[in-house]
Symmetry: C2
Subunit: 245 residues, 2 copies
């Protein structure tokens, strides 16, 4: 927070996990009125999309089952989720997320009416990312079948198949998981394993990772990643448009 | 086979499950040389795609984890699989499959370089489909979370969550499943349950169903389904192209 221009530069505020309702207090309303900030909330299902749109978000980040990190219990793929949200909300500003790492992916998201994509796994494997080199190298070296859904700190999560994941329980139902969460030791244990990942212990840490890890072959600069994805998406959309015109 | 024009009218031959290598005998070669038949094989993974392309197929049907019916053990989503195949084979003719039921879906597939989509679930819910009305009604009435991966006759399959699915075992590993398949009673039992589905027993039959069932709200004629999907895809691709031009 050393940057005095943060209020001008911060144009998107993205929140995630659960409902953003608690955010809508008078301070947040004042901030929104005095700035151009757009508030997007991450949704893994149509059900949550309906709720947050009713609450007044400016847009949503729709994220599917193939993405890394925390997931819903519904397991809906990005492709199916995006179609479903578009059927119900044809005009809501939408960022597509979960499984994207190439220009083909960006082109497909724009073709479905998304205005952008969000990439986790692809950008972890960037020169600028502050994650541990061991973590970045796992993104680069892993294949498409190297991720697994496990029961993580706050519900199901897609992670790298390491020693931690092999010994983790499979995804429980929402009800079982909620009961378990009342136990602080489970949360403490999860946080320790997340710290291990941050410190480079790729065997015992919780390495959040999406299926798109199988698409990443190099650790590149953010600028190179974005430039090549955008260029390739432009080519894809031009070719597709030529097919129909 | 009452149609004498079958040789002229049949322009695509699609095979599925395992390798199509056994198809390449002298009779098939003669048929291909004497006709315009293009042979596509269904692949749920890059590994099988590599194998069948090496064997000489004309194209592939790439099908992801969200699709109905038999699945691979890799669980790769359609979005990730298509990007992966495009990275390795930028020019192979490709039909995208698994999760498609709308114009947005078709637009996204074309934007990724596919030449077409294949739809199972969406077309089961058509007036012309010869499946039982009970089966069609389940497609219409089910929601996006009404499917489940179970161990089916020949490996993992996505099916409707009915009594059969609730009692079916979760997906085994490939090795365990192969051992089980030597037992004829398992296969016989599976075939009986598939027959039940065909005869309209939607509780005890194996109702193969993709996640896209949650996108289908009407049983329509094939012509209406195709027309509306194509029109909407054209709109999507035009809008996306306008964003970049």
């Amino acid at each position: 927070m050393d940057n005095p221009k943060i209020k001008d530069q911060c144009t998107y505020l993205i929140t995630s996990a659960g409902s953003p309702k608690m955010l809508y207090n008078k301070h947040f309303k004042a901030l929104k009125e005095a700035s151009n900030i757009k508030h997007f909330h991450v949704v893994p299902s149509l059900k949550l999309a309906k709720k947050v749109i009713k609450n007044g978000v400016d847009g949503i980040v729709a994220t599917g089952h193939e993405g890394g990190g925390h997931q819903s219990y519904e397991n809906t793929s990005t492709l199916v989720l995006l179609q479903q949200i578009r059927q119900e909300f044809p005009n809501i500003p939408m960022i597509a997320c979960g499984g994207y790492a190439t220009g083909e992916g960006l082109a497909s998201a724009l073709a479905m009416g998304a205005g952008a994509i969000a990439m986790g796994t692809r950008l972890i494997a960037s020169k600028e990312c502050e994650f541990h080199e061991n973590y970045k190298n796992e993104v680069k070296n892993s294949t498409i079948s190297d991720t697994k859904l496990v029961t993580c700190v706050f519900g199901p999560a897609r992670v790298f198949k390491n020693s931690y994941a092999e010994n983790a329980t499979a995804v429980l139902t929402k009800e079982e998981k909620r009961a378990e969460e009342t136990s602080m030791s489970v949360i403490r244990d999860g946080v320790i394993k997340l710290e291990k990942a941050y410190n480079g212990d790729v065997n015992n840490g919780i390495i959040l990772l999406g299926q798109s890890c199988g698409l990443v072959e190099e650790i590149e600069s953010v600028s190179d990643i974005i430039t090549s994805i955008v260029r390739s998406a432009e080519k894809c959309l031009t070719s597709a448009y030529c097919m129909i015109s």
